[in-house]
């Protein structure tokens, strides 16, 4: 491991994992001085009956102040304002967020507003607003992928100004992340596969990006091996709690790793593809991940080779000569995608051209690629990538990913 | 006509409490020459018998009682006996000297030393006479105080030593009473308690002790007495006021411990000074026999005849707790005497408890300056009740459990006596290196530095040498065995010192120590000693040999301590003395121990870790089996 000359790492979330993890929530929240938490979630989660599971698990220990389930898929600051009003009217003193990335981000926003006081989140913008500990926030992720439970960012949309408000502070890290297999019980197989591939992308990217550090490395490697070991079983057999718990753990660890070492090309392109063509984030990740590794191999040969160790296990790692390890790792991921494609009956796409909208039309037309490539310049994930990404580079990678062919190494610009 | 012993009988009475039997062994002639008697001999006897690493409160510990050769000859201040054992308070060797009648009784029963092995199943006491030892059931007196127990035992002989309830309950600093004197420090009484031995009584008056060379002895003795009677300390202040005469001096020099050593002097100190007490309590002498200094006093306190508390008691149970009422201090003193507890360690431990309570480490109502609860605490300690159970283990153990190690004033587990070394750096070094722990009788540097002004208290030059020199001498004096206080007379009375102005002595002493100290004439002691043992089998040692014998005893004790795990890490002072300056000093001074320690080790022939080098041991003849 080469030690970076400088790094910083912060992941101050208390993680509880286990098949009965939810039962520990009341005790831990009481330790944080909580009496009346508010549960924040969305309709989908509520409909799946997860809220009942949660309230049952924490029943008796705490007095639930309110359940706020009105979070739409495309949440914005007004939802946050409403939520904070509910919070204040019910004299709550903590938030329990149950849901995916959007719910968690909204919950973080509600927490900012509720802790700092005020009527609207618009008043809380600007650097240095959040400078003290917020009220306790417990997060119960229902998907194993985004890793939002371990990140210090909250992105809240401002639909009127067509902007995204970005809140970054260490105080936005939740106090509690609860990983319980009961929470991911209802996730369909193709979502499981996509979100897990999202986590895998987090882990792999954090292992080669510029901010990589010993801690994020160790977390990432562990996350990769957990995913490679448990993803297929979890997709094949959703009833297997231990595999789902392992994926939830992997997601959290990948989240902790990438929120500190950041993500690169895969997310850079993925974010834009998602935004332009409305493709689910996990899908983009699973398709682009091999290209991210290939594109950066000349800068991070050793690190990408080491990913193979976690991905394929020590036997294959030992058998593969050092030079061939990065390629082998890429191949492993492609094989994984292929397997998932087969298991989910084609719902897990392998390349961009294969993604279909609900009506069957291609979601990412080839003609959209130049626009996507241009927009990658405005995405923050281009900075941590070890190799520079300019629109021409992005286009080159996208074309390969669209067609689903290996990246042509000779076309990667390596600089002088 | 009584039987006579010329000088020494060299007979050792060895007692096994478990088997209730005794046997007799001989002190080899070679040992007599190397270790003189008293402390040196006791250490040597213990060294030959004690396995290292045993539990001091277990059955393997051995208690050795020895007498000096001068005892019984009528030499002034010679009525002292020595006890040597492994201390439960410090876990290392402890030696204690006591002036009670037991020593004389044992010696005049024909024994030069007594060694106690094993542990009795049930409380016993031992009666000694010239024929040996008998064992008697002590169930009747088990649980009584020292005074009552001693009275009972004295029916069997002329001198007894007993423990009180503190020793029975294994308070780690319990002491032994003999007459009205105490074998104070390091928990020798606890060792007796752990052996279920309530007391020992010796018949005495069976033999007459005669010096080998009567004429020479009388001549030396006469000079010795004259010195003692001329000296302003021995015949002046101490004879009039006891050791409490030091209170005023300490207060003025800023070495009086006040409130657990946070200050060096106090405005009310005069209230507890010897002068005030002598006036207030109408004191009379009450001393060990035979004595020429007469430092012990008795007076009327609260309407009854009581002993006047001694300097260390007054400071540790008085000023160090913020109490300046001699009557109250006397109450505590009486309690400690009754229970058989070391007043210094008791005071030191209570002071720790007070500070710990003040800082919220323990829950207690004890507060500095208030006498409330102290008497109850002393009783609790003696019976190991409630919080007393924790304090009964001494401040080191208590602070290891409850914290507050930075203000637990002990060295190697033994609580510090009543001199604050931040006003006398040499004393600081002496505390750190004293073999038995925080002890002022290893080398009385405050005397040189603060009392007689013969050295600069805050200078460092030559201090290690002075400490070593004094340690050797004190060790030798304790091996004679004679009262340490005679040192004032022996050193200060010879004409060379007497007629030289103090400032010159001070200059010489501080800057040409090697020369100045070796010019001092201490030949009286070896002279007395040799007059008693006679030249029939031991050559005259001379001053040099006498010092060397002291050094031998000191290094032997160190060597035995090393076997128990002592090293440089333990030769240190409480953090308060090393780190915290006092407000009473002009500049906050702390003891610069490290630099002195290094030189001291070199002078002593120890390696940099404080362990005696092979060569040193060889030179002194330690470890060799003598026949």
């Amino acid at each position: 491991m080469t030690m970076p000359a400088y790094y910083d790492f912060c992941s101050r979330v208390k993680t509880i994992s286990g098949e009965n993890a939810m039962e520990k929530i009341p005790g831990l929240l009481k330790g944080l001085g909580v009496r009346r938490p508010m549960i924040v979630t969305d309709r989908g989660v509520e409909a799946a009956g997860l809220i009942d599971t949660v309230t049952e698990a924490i029943d008796g220990g705490l007095d639930i102040g309110a359940i706020y389930a009105d979070i739409p898929v495309d949440s914005d600051y007004r939802v946050v304002d409403d939520g904070a009003a509910v919070y204040q009217n019910n004299r709550c003193d903590a938030i329990i967020a149950v849901g995916g990335g959007s719910v968690i981000d909204t919950a973080k926003g509600i927490n900012i507003l509720a802790s700092l006081g005020g009527k609207s989140l618009l008043g809380c913008q600007g650097a240095g607003t959040i400078r003290r500990k917020l009220n306790p926030l417990a997060v119960l992720p229902t998907t194993s992928g985004t890793g939002s439970e371990m990140t210090l960012v909250a992105v809240i949309a401002d639909t009127e100004r067509q902007e995204k408000m970005l809140f970054v502070s260490h105080f936005l890290l939740p106090d509690l992340a609860v990983l319980d297999p009961r929470l991911t019980r209802t996730l369909p197989d193709f979502l499981t596969s996509q979100t897990a591939m999202d986590a895998l992308a987090h882990a792999c990217e954090s292992y080669y990006c510029m901010e990589k550090n010993p801690v994020s490395d160790a977390l990432a490697l562990r996350a990769i091996s957990l995913i490679s070991e448990h993803l297929l079983p979890a997709v094949r057999n959703p009833a297997e709690t231990s595999a789902r718990l392992a994926l939830a753990n992997a997601s959290a660890m990948a989240g902790a790793a990438f929120s500190n070492s950041m993500v690169g090309l895969v997310h850079n392109l993925g974010h834009v593809v998602g935004a332009v063509c409305h493709v689910p984030h996990g899908t983009c990740m699973s398709i682009l991940l091999p290209y991210g590794l290939e594109y950066n191999t000349h800068r991070r040969e050793k690190a990408i080779g080491e990913i193979l160790f976690s991905l394929a296990g020590p036997e294959i790692y030992a058998k593969t000569p050092e030079k061939a390890r990065p390629d082998k790792a890429v191949e492993q991921i492609r094989m994984l995608n292929e397997d998932l494609h087969n298991i989910t009956g084609g719902k897990h796409p392998r390349f961009l051209g294969e993604i279909r909208n609900k009506d069957g039309t291609p979601a990412v037309p080839r003609s959209a690629l130049p626009e996507i490539a241009r927009k990658t310049m405005a995405d923050g994930a281009r900075l941590p990538n070890p190799e520079e990404i300019l629109p021409e580079d992005a286009l080159m990678v996208l074309e390969h990913a669209w067609a689903g062919i290996h990246l042509d190494r000779s076309r990667i610009r390596k600089g002088a | 006509m009584k039987k006579e012993i010329i000088g020494t009988s060299n007979k050792v009475l060895e007692v096994d409490l478990a088997a209730r039997r005794f046997w007799v062994s001989e002190i080899p002639v070679g040992d007599r020459e190397l270790y003189l008697g008293g402390k040196g001999m006791g250490l040597k006897l213990l060294f030959d018998r004690l396995k290292p690493g045993i539990d001091p409160l277990g059955k393997d510990n051995i208690l050795v009682l020895t007498m000096g050769v001068l005892m019984g000859t009528g030499a002034p201040c010679s009525g002292r006996f020595e006890a040597v054992t492994k201390s439960p308070l410090t876990g290392i060797m402890v030696t204690g000297s006591c002036g009670g009648p037991f020593g004389m009784a044992l010696k005049t029963s024909g024994w030069d030393a007594m060694v106690i092995h094993g542990k009795a199943d049930e409380p016993v006491f031992v009666c000694v006479d010239s024929g040996g030892a008998t064992f008697a059931d002590a169930a009747g007196i088990w649980g009584t105080g020292t005074a009552a127990a001693q009275d009972t035992l004295l029916a069997h002989g002329s001198g007894a030593m007993v423990i009180g309830q503190a020793g029975e309950n294994l308070v780690r600093y319990a002491n032994i009473r003999s007459g009205s004197r105490f074998l104070g420090r390091g928990g020798i009484g606890t060792v007796m308690g752990s052996k279920n031995l309530k007391g020992i009584v010796a018949k005495g008056r069976e033999y007459k002790i005669r010096p080998a060379d009567k004429k020479r002895f009388d001549r030396a003795n006469k000079r010795f007495l004259a010195h003692i009677n001329n000296n302003p300390v021995t015949a002046g202040s101490w004879r009039s006021y006891g050791t409490n005469a030091n209170i005023r001096i300490s207060n003025a020099a800023g070495i009086l411990p006040v409130r657990n050593f946070t200050a060096g002097s106090h405005g009310q100190a005069v209230k507890i000074s010897g002068e005030t007490m002598a006036e207030k309590f109408d004191t009379r002498h009450d001393v060990c026999k035979p004595c020429a200094i007469l430092c012990g006093h008795r007076g009327t306190i609260r309407g009854e005849k009581r002993h006047i508390p001694e300097y260390e008691t007054v400071t540790l149970l008085g000023s160090n707790l913020g109490i300046f009422d001699p009557e109250i201090i006397s109450d505590f003193n009486e309690l400690c005497a009754e229970y058989g507890m070391d007043t210094i360690s008791t005071g030191g431990t209570i002071a720790w408890a007070m500070e710990a309570a003040e800082k919220g480490l323990i829950e207690s109502d004890l507060r500095f300056g208030s006498d409330e609860g102290i008497a109850e605490t002393i009783t609790d300690i003696a019976f190991r009740r409630g919080q007393g159970a924790m304090l009964a283990d001494g401040s080191r153990m208590a602070s290891k459990t409850y914290g507050g190690e930075d203000f637990a004033m002990h060295v190697k587990g033994m609580e510090l006596p009543g001199y604050d070394p931040r006003g006398a750096f040499g004393q600081g070094l002496s505390y750190a290196t004293a073999n038995r722990g925080g002890c002022h009788l290893s080398a009385y540097m405050v005397g040189v530095e603060a009392m007689f002004g013969m050295a600069d208290p805050h200078a460092l030059r030559w201090k290690p040498y002075m400490v070593k020199f004094m340690e050797d001498i004190f060790s030798a004096v304790n091996s004679l065995h004679i009262c340490l206080f005679t040192a004032f007379a022996v050193f200060l009375e010879p004409p060379l010192i007497r007629f030289t102005p103090t400032f010159i002595i001070r200059h010489l002493n501080q800057n040409f120590s090697l020369l100045a100290l070796n010019l001092m004439d201490a030949s009286l002691w070896p002279e007395l000693w040799h007059a008693v043992v006679g030249k029939r089998y031991i050559p005259y040692l001379g001053m040099r040999g006498f010092y060397k014998a002291g050094e031998r005893a000191h290094v032997l004790e160190r060597y035995m301590n090393i076997r128990e795990g002592i090293a440089k890490k333990d030769d240190t002072l409480p953090r308060r003395l090393l780190d915290e300056g006092r407000t009473c000093d002009h500049e906050a001074k702390t003891v610069p121990l490290d630099s002195m320690l290094k030189t001291y080790y070199r002078l002593r022939g120890y390696d940099e870790n404080g362990i005696p080098r092979e060569k040193t041991l060889e030179k002194l003849g330690i470890g060799k089996q003598t026949k």
Partner: protein
Amino acid sequence: MNIDRYPEIRPGKKVFKKAYAFVVLLVVGRGIEAADRVDGEVKDIVRGLPEGFTFSLGVAPSGPWMVIRKEKSGKLRYLGWRRFGKTIELDMAIRNIEAAFRIFTFRESTAQAHNNGRFSVNGNLPNALAIMRIMDIAEIYLLPKIIATLAVKRYPDRRELPPGRKHFNRLRIYLRAFSPGLFRVVYRNL
């Protein structure tokens, strides 16, 4: 306890490092202004910025700074080192002078510094990314290759930026940066 033994400490200033950072910021600021008139890619990027867009780059908390604005003409203009009286939409600050010195002595590339969290960015992120790209380009022109490779992530090879164009543009940028305009800016800021 005598609390005077532990006096309050008012830390001093690092004059030399600040002066150095000042000079570098001056040169880079003028360089960016010049690059906008010379390099095509910079022109493209600037076109995407809103009009009147003002940004500052500097060292937190007490300077020095450089302030650049997109004028009505659509060109960037270096406004000097004073921030008073200017509405700054994008504030990019290096967190301390020591980090700034490391960056300006090219011991840490801009991208690496950004990844190490040396910059605190307050404002619209896409614009910040655009500015960083402009700075990279400006550095490629302003600095000799051996130093510029330390400062940027990928130094363009011959295919990406032909040497002829590079040296020609570099000359133009230098001429513009140190033209009399420099003295005007300095004068106006004094």
